[in-house]
Amino acid sequence: MTDAAGNPRLEQLLADALRPIDPPEDLAGRLETTLSDIASHAAAELSSWADDLTESELEALRDPRNWVRPVAAVAVGSAAAGALVLVGMRRRRRPDGLRDNLERLLRDLRPQ
């Protein structure tokens, strides 16, 4: 401890004043219980997750042949999006149609 400063007497006093303190017995037990509860809980969660997803399911997820369904889903989604665009375009065109009808009506009402 002498590399700290050059006062061995004060350093000895400090060492005596700041002695290590033993933790209470029940703290060690309580902490150990808490930590083992956490570990068991984590193990149980890992186990139930593994039960939900079996090895064959995990294998199936990795198999490119099973990617057809997601690809099909993407294709269906794209088609649906295209259809929505068409409907939108028709909706945007509707005011023109109304104007045509109004002009026709006015033409009909106009005195000959």
């Binding site: 006062n7 004060l10 930590l35």
Partner: protein, 194 residues
């Protein structure tokens, strides 16, 4: 079922066997350093009740990050890391609850010594004086002395716990002892000397 690691994520999954080994290693760390963390906590907060809380929180936090800490430590001792956790928690303790260490540390009683009665009384007065003067030091100086003398940490360990360089830590400890020495001398010289 060891999954592939995502580089740099720090959250790589571990296998069941790896987890068991990790728990065993943590258990060892906990048993080896429980007294260190508790001593540090006690000298920081000054009472057993809060020291227990602080110790418990420190180990729970350490448990959460243990795998990463072990990986990044490259085999170096983990005591400075544990003490750093306790140090941060103790800082939050004062900040959150607006408590000051001065109020608590006065309650710390000097330890008993197996000497004769007269020497015990005299010795206890001296130790009481050291503890009293210790509380007047700036936080970082006081902490460095707690780490050095209560935990027996080396300069390098203290540097790692405080996030400072080895050289800066050496200077910090030197100044802490010097300041303590001067405070005690001033006390003995009497009020006319100050």
């Amino acid at each position: 079922m060891s999954a592939e690691a995502e580089p740099g994520s720090g959250q790589e999954p571990v296998s069941a066997a790896g987890k068991a080994e990790l728990d065993r290693a943590f258990s060892e760390l906990y048993r080896t350093h429980l007294r260190d963390v508790y001593s540090y906590a006690y000298y920081r907060v000054g009472n057993h009740h809060d020291a227990e809380d602080l110790t418990e929180q420190a180990f729970l936090q350490a448990y959460r990050h243990f795998e990463r800490a072990r990986r990044e430590s490259n085999g170096r001792p983990l005591r400075p890391w544990l003490i750093r956790i306790a140090h941060n928690l103790a800082s939050n303790y004062y900040r959150d609850r607006a408590r000051r260490p001065e109020a608590n540390i006065e309650a710390i009683e000097p330890p008993m010594h197996p000497h004769g009665t007269e020497r015990v009384v005299e010795g206890r007065e001296e130790l009481r004086e050291v503890i009293d003067k210790l509380q007047d030091l700036p936080d970082d100086r006081r902490e460095a002395l707690i780490m050095r003398f209560a935990l027996g940490m080396s300069n390098r360990e203290i540097a790692r716990a405080l996030g400072r360089s080895d050289g800066a830590t050496k200077v910090l400890i030197h100044r802490a002892i010097k300041q303590l020495e001067e405070a005690i001398e001033a006390e003995h010289a009497g009020p006319e000397a100050t």
